[in-house]
Amino acid sequence: MAFTLSAEHEKIVDELIARYPTKQAACIPVLHLCQRQVGWVSPEVIDYVATRLGMAASEVMGVVTFYTMYAQHPPGKHTVWVCRTLSCELMGAKTIQEHLEHRLGCHAGQTSADGNFTLKKAECLAACGYGPMVQIDDQFYENLTVEKLDALLDRIARGETPTQEETAWYPNAAAATTSGS
């Protein structure tokens, strides 16, 4: 079945295209928009984007495969990215990943049997001072311990969306902002 965007999203595509001198430049944001609607970049999405932006399907495919944030298979309901790069690793990222694998019953790259969580390894997510950290869908959860992570996952499984401010210590705590505060 051919992929279509909602009328509201079609308007956003027009606005995106208007931001650039070429139509192709809208490719990355339009792919994000489509992925948001269906959860992944399906072959139908690729055909849609190619037609809409006047690109060859192979060109769109080339873009999709270059970047890590486009899912080429349908993921679980939520995606958990655990940062495994050095700063986080020094603060316990491996322990966090092992706990996730144990709790979700799957390895990185796989989805839990209940379809709720896809687990992925991430490279540095620009939260290095606040590790270990994970990104779940749109939120960063920082300064994690195993207990904190469990509590977050419980809430997310119940349909809540904890905000990233809840685990961030820098927006509120004086200690880690800047000198003089």
């Binding site: 792919l31 004086a174 000198s179």
Partner: protein, 464 residues
Amino acid sequence: MPSYQNILSNRYTLARSWTLEVAERAGAYQQARKALTSMTPDQIKAEVKAANIRGRGGAGFPAGMKWGFLAPKKEGQEVYLVINADEGEPGTFKDRTIMEKDPHRLIEGCIIAMYAIGAHKCWIYVRCELVLSIARLEAAIREAHARGFLGARPFGKEHALDIHVHPGAGAYICGEETSLLNSLEGKRGEPRLKPPFPAVKGAFGMPTIVNNVETISAVPDVVAMGGEAWSNISLLPPEMKDGGTRLYGISGHVKRPGVYEAPVGITMRELIYDFGGGMLHPDRKLKGVIPGGSSTPVLREQDKVEAKDPKHPLNKWHGKSHLDLPMAVDTYRGIGTMLGTCCAIVMDTSVSMVEASRNLMKFYAHESCGQCTPCREGTGWLANVLDQIAAGKGKPSDVDLLVDISNNMMGNTICALADGTAMPMLAFVRKFRKEFLEAAEKGLPQSARLDEAIRSQLVRREAA
């Protein structure tokens, strides 16, 4: 904690600092108004030049000079400003604080910079993982439009200004400026051969200035104080041409990791012990510190500055520990490392340097775009050899193999990712050779996992 004045980050602690209402009450957009209503583009460029802002994205190139390289605008041509907000260098997490806490400072900097270089359009390329940064920037742009700070006649000036956020899609290499431009154009993020440099042929074939978030966010203060005064905030003598104040990041084994503002030229010792609160564990000393993002060679306390010749630019610090040398673009180059993004990763004596380098080499192997053979093969080989060593399947000659592979990667590639992989690898081996040899002979003990020292706390911390 030392008390330097917060200039760039002076609005961070205000409640709802990211809104126009709060930012404007605290001074935002006064400099854009001043620049657009009372200064010529050349005057602004002169102030930026006098400010001696070294690019905050990692390479440390003087922003004033870069703006000067811009090809003169030809009939029918546009000039573009592109902001590099890809922030992907491991260890680096400073630009995010500007976008989340004071997006209006970046927008104000863009307005002044666009006017100065003759641009009407600017794209801010933000990695898509930074959802909050993107949301705050987009909201800030909408607010600025609504107030008439952007649009057809900003501050009443006949110089249309338009800013858009462009999301990335998850690729470290897109932080490299020419790769970023390809990504902006909707292509795979593969770096381009230079020359031509972006200032001559950049986004969509037009002359383009690419600057880091923090570089452009400094511009309003430069206009406010005057370039020379802003430059003089730096603790270094003016002839070193490395001016102003900047954001320092610190992560790893310290008590107070975070992002802190201080003048250019504080020492690594100050960053670790004063700002960072010292080593996390009272019984474990500093083993090594990666000074400015993972592509910069590691430093040790016991290494001394060698600059006996009185004419040597670092002579003043001859014999001092590397930790006591002011942190600046050229001082760090002088000791064989780089200042990079000025975000340090601190490692205590519990850390296996074989494991630390293996973690980073896996990163580079994953992130190499694959265009150049020495980089594609070299990054993969380094990771493989380190895997073998860690698994106890290594041999002593593997240590020299790491050096050979690194040497073959340097200077032979389209972009600096290969050098940024090889240089830190060489420093790890040079400074911790014994450790690498031992691991090559015996493998790594189980306890060499990098989070061994912290594991018990991760489970206990909450209970306490």
